[in-house]
Amino acid sequence: MDVVSELLRDHIYKMAASGKRVDGRAPEEYREIKVRKGYAKNAEGSARINLGKTEVLVGVKMILGEPYPDRPKEGSIVTTMELIPMASPTFEAGPPRENAIELARVVDRGIRESKTVDLGKLCIIEGEKVWIIFIDIHALDYGGNLFDASSFGALAALTNAVVPASKINGEDYPLEVEHHPISITATKIQDVIVFDASLDEDRVADARLTVATDENGHIRAMQKGLKGSFTLDEVDYVVKTAKKLADEIRPKVVG
C-alpha cells in the first residue's frame, strides 16, 4: 500500500534470506498474542486482540431476523470489516474497499464454511425467526498481518458470545462454537517465506497465503493474495507449517 524505499525492501529481503527478521524473530515465529474477551459490554460477545503492534477489536451482535427463503431452518452470519483511518495513515474513511472486503470475506468463510457455528441452532421458528450473527471487525492499530489478527478476534469473540434469548422470553445462554479454526498467514518476500508479517514485511510482501486449520488438523479455509506466486512445494510447506502453528496458537485464542 505504501511507497517503500527500495532500501527497506532490500534490507528486509537480505535479512530474511539469511533466516533473520528485522524484529529478531525466527521465520515461523509469531509475535506476542494478547486476547481480552468481553471488552465491549454492549455486544453479545467481543474480543480485543493484540498481535505484536497490531490491535483489532471484534464485536458480535445477535439480532432477530428472518431466514433466507432457501434456508428456512438456518440463521446466518454477516461479517464486516472497517479499515478505519485510525489504524493507519493509508486507510481512508468511506465504504469498504477491496482490501477490507477481501479480509472480511476470508474471515467470514473461515467461520461460516468451516461450520464454526451450527447455523441450524440459530433457528427459532422455521421460516420465520432466526438469529443473525453480525461479526464486526474494527481494526484499531495496523502493525502487519491483519488477516490473522482479525480471524483470531472473530473466533475469540464468538467463544465469548451469549445468545440473548431473554429477548424472546427465554434465558440467555452461551453460543456453542463447534470448531476452532486458526488462521495462519505466510508472507513471501521474493523467494523467502516468513509467518505473521510485521508492518514492514507486509509493505514489501510479494505474495501472501492464509491457511486456516481446525483442531483436527483439517484445512478449513485458504486464500492466496498479492501479485506474486507460490510454487507447489511452497504451498505444501505453508500448509504443513500452518497446522503446526495453529495448534500452538489455538489455546491462546480460544482460552
Partner: protein
C-alpha cells in the same frame, strides 16, 4: 417517572452521585503504535479511543487552506458499541458531531503554523453510554497533545442537564433518556471561552445559568485529568529516553 425518581430528596442520584458529580473517568495517553498521537478514555460506561495523524498534506488539494491547517475530526461509533447494532458508516448524527468537534478544535490548534496541511482526529466510540460526544472531545484533546500538535490550550468537555426538574451534571444513560434537557459544552480552560454548546429539551434561563456554571467547573476538573494523563505519558517517555541515553552511554 414519579416512582423510581432520578434524584432523591437528598439530591442523590440513582447511581449514588451528587448532582454536581462526574462519573468516574480513566484517561491514558499514547496507546496506539501507528498514529502520531493517541489516547484512551473510560468515562462511566463509555469507552472511546482517539488517534491523531498530522500535520500532513490535505487531500484533495482543492480543500487545502493556503493560510492555515484544517482540523478534520471524525466521530465514529463501532457497530457493536450500542445495544441495537449500528450500521457501519457515518449517519447524520455522526456528521453533525464531527462538525462541531472539528470547529471546537479549530479554535485552539495553532493552524497558521501549517498552511495547506490537515490535522486529522479520529474518535472511535467502542462502548457508548450517554455523553459520548463530550467523552470523545475530551480524549481527542489529549491525543492532539500527545501528537505534539501546538495548541493554545487543551480543551475539555462535559454536559449538564435536567432530570426530575433538577439541574445535574454529566447525565448517565437513564438520566439522558428520561431527563428534560441535555446540554453538552466544551471550554478553553484558561479563558473559560465556550467552543462547543448544544442543547435540546426544555430548561429555564435560571436553570441554564446554574448548570453552565456547574459544567464549566467540571471542565476544569476534567482538564486536570487530561494534564495528568499527559504527565504520566511524558514520564514514561522521559524514562525511556533516560534508559536509551544510559544504554548508549554504555551503562
Amino acid at each position: 417517572m414519579e416512582e423510581g425518581k432520578l434524584v432523591n430528596d437528598k439530591g442523590i442520584r440513582v447511581d449514588g452521585r451528587k448532582v454536581d458529580e462526574l462519573r468516574p473517568i480513566k484517561l491514558e495517553a499514547g496507546v496506539l503504535n501507528r498514529a502520531d498521537g493517541s489516547a484512551y478514555i473510560e468515562w462511566g460506561e463509555n469507552k472511546v479511543l482517539a488517534a491523531v495523524y498530522g500535520p500532513r498534506e490535505a487531500h484533495p488539494r482543492h480543500r487545502q487552506d493556503p493560510a492555515r491547517a484544517l482540523v478534520q475530526c471524525r466521530y465514529n461509533m463501532a457497530p457493536f458499541s450500542v445495544s441495537d447494532r449500528k450500521r457501519p458508516g457515518p449517519d447524520r448524527r455522526s456528521v453533525e458531531i464531527s462538525k462541531v468537534v472539528s470547529e471546537a478544535f479549530s479554535h485552539v490548534v495553532l493552524r497558521e503554523l501549517f498552511p495547506r496541511a490537515t490535522v486529522d482526529v479520529f474518535m472511535e466510540v467502542l462502548q457508548a453510554s450517554a455523553g459520548t460526544r463530550c467523552t470523545a472531545l475530551t480524549v481527542a484533546a489529549v491525543a492532539l497533545a500527545d501528537a505534539g500538535i501546538p495548541m493554545r490550550d487543551i480543551i475539555a468537555s462535559c454536559a449538564f442537564g435536567k432530570a426530575d426538574g433538577q439541574v445535574i451534571l454529566d447525565l448517565d444513560k437513564e438520566e439522558d433518556n428520561e431527563g428534560q434537557a441535555d446540554v453538552p459544552i466544551a471550554i478553553v480552560p484558561r479563558t473559560n471561552e465556550i467552543v462547543l454548546l448544544q442543547m435540546d429539551g426544555h430548561i429555564t434561563k435560571e436553570e441554564f445559568d446554574s448548570g453552565l456554571k456547574m459544567a464549566v467547573d467540571a471542565c476544569h476538573r476534567i482538564n486536570e485529568m487530561q494534564r495528568d494523563a499527559l504527565r504520566r505519558r511524558y514520564a514514561v517517555t522521559t524514562d525511556r529516553h533516560k534508559a536509551v541515553k544510559a544504554s548508549s552511554e554504555g551503562v
